[in-house]
Symmetry: C2
Subunit: 626 residues, 2 copies
C-alpha cells in the first residue's frame, strides 16, 4: 500500500465529496477503500468478503442519491462498511466492531445516514416498504433504496416484503446484490432462477426489440398464419411473463455489472426516474479485489484478525463448542441413520462442515429460513427421523411460532442445537443470544440443557436424542470451552452439580459458561475463608423438584445468569420458591437490556458476570460488616 | 333435505367405501356431504365456506390415495371436515368444535388419517417436505400430499417451503387450492399471477404442442430465417420460463376444475405417477353449493350457528372488543392522518372493516404475513407515522423476531392491537392466546395494557398512541365486554384499581377479562363476611413500583391470570417480590399447558378461572378451619 503519495480517499469524508469525481477517479477511490477495508478488517476482524463485493455499488449509490434525505436500508447490514466510510465515519473506521467503536451494522443511533438497524436477514424490503409508505403519506419526496443479497431472498420475510412492496405503488428501489452466495453457497429454486437470468441476459434485451417487431407481423397465409398466431401468442406470454420480480409488481432492471461504476450509475439513475417499485439486479463478486477472499468467500464472510499477505484468517484453528457438537453428531450419525442435520445457511458457523461432507443425504441447508427449518424438522420427526436443527440463538427467534405450533402441540421430538447462546461479542445487540432461555421456557414441554464444557455438551446431545421426549434443546456459547478449576469438576452426565466443601448457608446458582466464572469466584472466596456453596445446573428446563429442594435449604440464594432478565431461569426459580413458602434471601444477577458490542470477555465483565464481579457481588451481600 | 330415502353417505365410513363408486355416485355423495356440512355447521358454527369448497377435491384425493399409508397435510386445517367425514369420523361429526368432540382441525392424536396438526397458516409445504424426506430416508413408499390455499401462499413460510421442497427431489404433491381468497380477498403479486394463469390456461396446453412443433421448424430463408431464429429462442424461453412454480422445481399440473371429480382424479393420478415434487393447481369456489356462502365467502369463512334458510349467520350482531377497537381507531384516524392500520388478512376479525372503508390509503392488508407486518410497521414508525398492527395473539407469535430486532432494539413506536388474547374457545390449542404475555414480556422496552372493558380499551389505545414510547401493545379477549359488578367499577384511565372495602390482609391480583370473575368471587365472599382486597391491573408491563409496593403490604397475595404459567405476569411479580424480601404467602393460578376446545365459558371454568372456582380457591387457602 502506497502511503507515500496523497490519496483520493484523504479528501473524501461525505457523499458530497464524490459527486463530481470522474469515473476514473471513482475507480481509484474504490481501490483505496478496498485497501482500507482489508487493512482494518485484518486488524479488527469483520465481514470482509461481503464488504469487498459492494465497494463500487455503494459509491454509485452515493453518487446518485443523497442521504440522509434519501435512505438506504441495508439487509443484514454487514455490507455497510463502505457506506460508513463515505458518510462521515472514515476517521473512526479503525474502531469498527470494537467496544465503544463503530458498529459493524447500520444503526440510526450512530448516524443520520443509517436509515434502519439491521443484523438479521431478509428484513430490508419490508422495512423499506414501510419507510416508502410513510414518505408518501407524509409527503416526503426522498427515495428509499433497499440493498439485499440473493442469499437473503431465501428468507420468507423477503418474499412477504416483495409481495407487498411490489404492489404498494410507492416509489421504492430494491437493489438485488447478487453474488451467488448467501453466507455459504446459496440454495433453492430462486437461486437457480437468478443464475438462469445471469446466464441469459440476452433474452431480456431481446424482449424490447421483439415487442416492437411484433406489432408489425402480418397475419396472412394459412398454416403459416396459424403458426404465427400461435407464435405471437407465445411470444406475448414470454414478454408478459418475463421475470420473477415483475410478477410481484417490480420494474426489473438488470443484470448490471456490480463492479462497473458507470454502468451502476446509469442503472440507478434510470431506477430513480421510475415512480414505482423497481428491482435493480446487480451482479457482484464476493471478496472482490482480495484474492484469498475471492477464492474462499465463505471462510472470509466473517473473519477474525488475519495476516494480509498470507491471508490466513486462522478460522477454526482452535476447537469450539460448535466443532465439538459437529464431531459428536458425526459419530452418532455413523451408527444411527435416522439422524439428520438441518442448518439455515450456517453450516460452517454451527460446526456441520464435516457432517455435511460425510452425510450428504442427511444434511439439509434450507437457506436463511429458520421457520421452515423448524416445521421441516417437525415433519421429519413425525415420521420417526431424528432431526437436529443447529441454529444460532438469536436466529431461532424467527421460528418461535413453529416451536409452539409445529413442535410443542403434538410434542414432536425435534432437537435444537442452539449455538451462540449468550453473549457473542463484537456483532453486538442484534446477535446476542440473550433471549433463548426466556422464549424456550414459554414453549410447553420444552426440555433445555445448558452444558458448560465439551463433555457436558456431548452427553447433553445424546440425552436430547435418546432420552428426552418431545422438543428439546441444548444451548452452548460461542467459542471454546473454559476449564473448570480443580475441585469444581463435574460429572458431565449429571443434571446438576453441587459443590459444597464446608458448611455454608449461602448458595450460588448458575449454569453454562458462567459456571467457570462462578467457580473461580467461589475459589477465591474460600481462600479468604468465606464459604459459599455452588450449584451448577446442566439440565435447566424443566427445573426439577430435586433442584428446588436443594435451593430451598439455604438462607441466601444468589443466581448468576447470562440471560435477559424477564423470562430468565432465575425468575422461574424465584416464582417456584416463593410459592413454596421460601422466605430466605433471593438475589439474582441477570442482563437487563440489550448488550452492546465488545469482546465476549469485556461484555461479560460489563454485565457483572466475570469472576471478579461475582466475587464482589457475593461479598457485598454477605461478608460486609454492619 | 330428503331424509326419507336412503343416502349414499349412509354406507360411507372409510375411504375404501368410495373407491369403487362411479363418478355419478360421487357427485351425489358430494351433495350429501354438503348437506351434512351445512346442517352441522349451522348448529355448531365452524368454517363453512372453505369446507364447501373442497368437497369434490377431498373425495378425489381419497379415491386416488390411501390414507394413512399416504398422508394428507392440510394447511391451516380448517378445510379438513370432508376428510374427517370420510375417515371414520362421520358418526361423531355432529360433535365437531365442541368440548370433547372432534377438533375443527387435523390432529394426529384424533386419527391415524390426520398426518399433522394445523391451525396456523402456511406450514403445510414445509411439514410435507419433512414427511416426504423421512419417507425417502426410511424407505416408506407412501405418498405425501399437502393441500394449501392460495391465501396461505402469501405467508413467507410457504415460500420457504416451496423453495426447499421443490429442490428436494422427493416425491411430494402440493395441491394448490386456489379460490382467489385467503380468509378475506387475497392480496399480492402472487395472487395477480395466479389469476393470470387462470385467465390463460390455453398457454400452458399450447406449450406441449409447441415443444413438439418447434423441433420441426425449418430454418431457411433470410429475414424469415432471422425472425424464426429469434422466435424459436423466445419460444424456448417461454417454454423454459413457464410458471412460477416450475422456477421452484415443481412439475406444474393445472389449472384443474376443483368441482369436477373426474378431472381431479385424472390430474391426481398423473401427479401420483411423477417421482418428483408436483404442484397441482386446482380452482375451487369458496362456499360452493350454498348460495349465501358463495356470495359472501368472507362472512362465511368462520361462522357461529346460523339459520340455514335465511343463511343469516348473525355475524357481528353484537359489539365486541374488536369492533370497539375498530371504531375507536376510526375516530382517532379522523383527526390524525399519521395513523395507519395494518392487518395480516384479518381485517374483519380484528374489527377494521369500517376503518378499511373510511381510510383506504392508510389501511394495509399485507396477507398472512405477520413478520412482514411488524417490520413494515417499524419502517413506518421510523419515519414518524403511527402504525397500529391489529393481530390475533396466537398469530403474533410469528413475528417474535421482528418485535425484538426491528421494533425493540431502536425502540420504534409501533402499536400492537392484540385481539383474541387469552382463551378463544372452540378453535382449540392452535388458536388460544395464552403466550402473548409470556413472549411480550421478554421484549426489552415493551409496554403492555390489558383492558378489561371497552372504556379501558379506548383509553389504552390512546395512551399507546400518544403517551407511551417505543413498541407497545394492548391486548383484549375475543367477544364482548363483561360488566363489572357494582362497587367494582374502575376509572378506565387508571393504570390499576384497588378495591378495598374493609380491612384485609389478603390481596387478589388479576387483570383483563378475569377481573370480572374475580370481582364476582370477592363480592360473594364479602356477603359471607370474608374480606379480600382486589387489585386490578390495567397497564401490566412494565410492573410499576407503585403496584409492587401495594402488593408487598399484604400477608397473602393470590394472583389469578389467564396466561400460560411460564413467563406469566404472576411469575414476574413473584421474582420482584422475592428479591425485595417479601416473605408473605404467594399463590398463583395460571394455565399450565395447552387448552383444548370448548366454549370460552367452559374452558375458563376448566382452568379454574371462573368466579366460583376463584371463590373456592380463595376460601380453601384462607378461610378453612384447622
Amino acid at each position: 500500500m502506497s502511503d507515500s503519495k496523497k490519496k483520493l480517499l484523504d479528501c473524501v469524508n461525505y457523499p458530497s465529496d464524490i459527486k463530481n469525481m470522474s469515473y476514473e477517479e471513482l475507480d481509484v477511490l474504490s481501490e483505496e477503500i478496498r485497501e482500507l477495508l482489508i487493512d482494518t478488517i485484518s486488524k479488527n476482524g469483520g465481514h470482509l468478503a461481503s464488504n469487498l463485493g459492494v465497494v463500487e455499488l455503494t459509491i454509485a449509490m452515493h453518487k446518485v442519491f443523497d442521504t440522509p434525505k434519501d435512505q438506504f436500508v441495508f439487509d443484514v447490514g454487514h455490507q455497510s462498511y463502505t457506506h460508513k466510510i463515505l458518510t462521515g465515519r472514515k476517521d473512526r473506521f479503525s474502531t469498527i466492531r470494537q467496544e465503544n467503536g463503530l458498529s459493524g451494522y447500520p444503526k440510526q443511533a450512530e448516524s443520520e445516514h443509517d436509515a434502519f438497524v439491521a443484523g438479521h436477514s431478509s428484513t430490508s424490503i419490508s422495512v423499506a416498504n414501510g419507510i416508502a409508505k410513510a414518505k408518501s403519506m407524509l409527503k416526503d419526496d426522498g427515495h428509499v433504496v433497499a440493498v439485499i443479497g440473493d442469499g437473503a431472498l431465501t428468507g420468507g420475510l423477503a418474499y412477504e416484503g416483495m409481495n407487498n412492496a411490489g404492489r404498494s405503488g410507492d416509489r421504492l428501489i430494491v437493489i438485488l446484490n447478487d453474488n451467488e452466495m448467501s453466507i455459504s453457497k446459496n440454495v433453492g429454486g430462486l437461486a437457480k432462477y437468478l443464475s438462469k437470468i445471469r446466464s441469459n441476459p440476452k433474452y431480456f434485451r431481446l424482449k424490447n426489440n421483439l415487442e416492437h417487431f411484433l406489432r408489425k407481423i402480418p397475419l396472412v397465409g394459412k398454416g403459416a398464419c396459424r403458426f404465427l398466431r400461435h407464435t405471437k401468442e407465445i411470444i406475448k406470454s414470454a414478454i408478459y411473463h418475463t421475470t420473477f420480480f415483475e410478477e410481484f409488481g417490480f420494474v426489473y432492471i438488470g443484470p448490471v455489472d456490480g463492479h462497473d461504476i458507470q454502468q451502476l450509475v446509469r442503472a440507478l439513475r434510470r431506477a430513480k426516474r421510475i415512480n414505482k417499485p423497481v428491482m435493480v439486479h446487480v451482479e457482484t463478486t464476493k471478496g472482490k479485489g482480495y484474492e484469498y477472499a475471492e477464492k474462499r468467500p465463505t471462510e472470509y464472510h466473517g473473519v477474525p484478525k488475519f495476516d494480509i499477505d498470507t491471508g490466513n484468517p486462522d478460522v477454526s484453528s482452535t476447537d469450539s463448542f460448535s466443532s465439538v457438537f459437529g464431531d459428536t453428531l458425526c459419530e452418532l450419525a455413523q451408527v444411527d441413520d435416522r439422524i439428520c442435520a438441518i442448518t439455515a445457511a450456517m453450516g460452517e458457523g454451527t460446526g456441520l462442515k464435516n457432517y455435511a461432507k460425510a452425510f450428504k443425504k442427511r444434511y439439509f441447508d434450507v437457506g436463511i429460513a429458520e421457520a421452515h427449518a423448524t416445521a421441516f424438522a417437525a415433519g421429519l420427526a413425525s415420521k420417526g427421523a431424528l432431526p437436529v436443527f443447529a441454529v444460532y440463538s438469536s436466529f431461532l427467534q424467527r421460528a418461535y411460532d413453529q416451536l409452539i405450533h409445529d413442535c410443542a402441540i403434538e410434542s414432536e421430538h425435534v432437537v435444537f442445537a442452539i449455538d451462540r447462546a449468550g453473549i457473542v461479542g463484537d456483532d453486538g445487540e442484534t446477535h446476542q443470544g440473550l433471549f433463548d432461555v426466556p422464549f424456550l421456557s414459554t414453549v410447553p414441554g420444552m426440555t433445555v440443557y445448558s452444558p458448560g464444557n465439551y463433555d457436558e455438551l456431548k452427553i447433553a446431545l445424546k440425552k436430547c436424542l435418546y432420552v428426552e421426549k418431545g422438543p428439546c434443546a441444548l444451548r452452548y456459547p460461542r467459542g471454546s470451552q473454559p476449564h473448570y478449576p480443580t475441585g469444581f469438576e463435574t460429572n458431565p452426565s449429571d443434571e446438576y452439580t453441587l459443590v459444597a466443601e464446608n458448611e455454608s448457608d449461602i448458595l450460588l446458582v448458575t449454569y453454562g459458561r458462567i459456571y467457570t466464572e462462578a467457580a473461580e469466584a467461589v475459589q477465591k472466596l474460600r481462600q479468604e475463608g468465606k464459604d459459599v456453596h455452588l450449584l451448577k445446573l446442566n439440565k435447566i428446563l424443566p427445573l426439577s423438584s430435586e433442584v428446588i429442594d436443594i435451593v430451598s435449604g439455604y438462607n441466601t440464594v444468589m443466581f448468576a445468569e447470562e440471560s435477559y432478565k424477564t423470562g430468565s431461569l432465575s425468575q422461574i426459580m424465584a416464582d417456584i420458591l416463593l410459592e413454596r413458602g421460601y422466605n430466605g434471601r433471593y438475589i439474582s444477577r441477570t442482563i437487563n437490556g440489550f448488550v452492546k458490542q465488545a469482546t465476549v470477555k469485556s461484555a461479560i465483565k460489563t454485565v457483572g458476570l466475570d469472576s471478579t464481579s461475582i466475587k464482589n457481588w457475593i461479598e457485598i451481600n454477605n461478608f460486609t460488616e454492619e
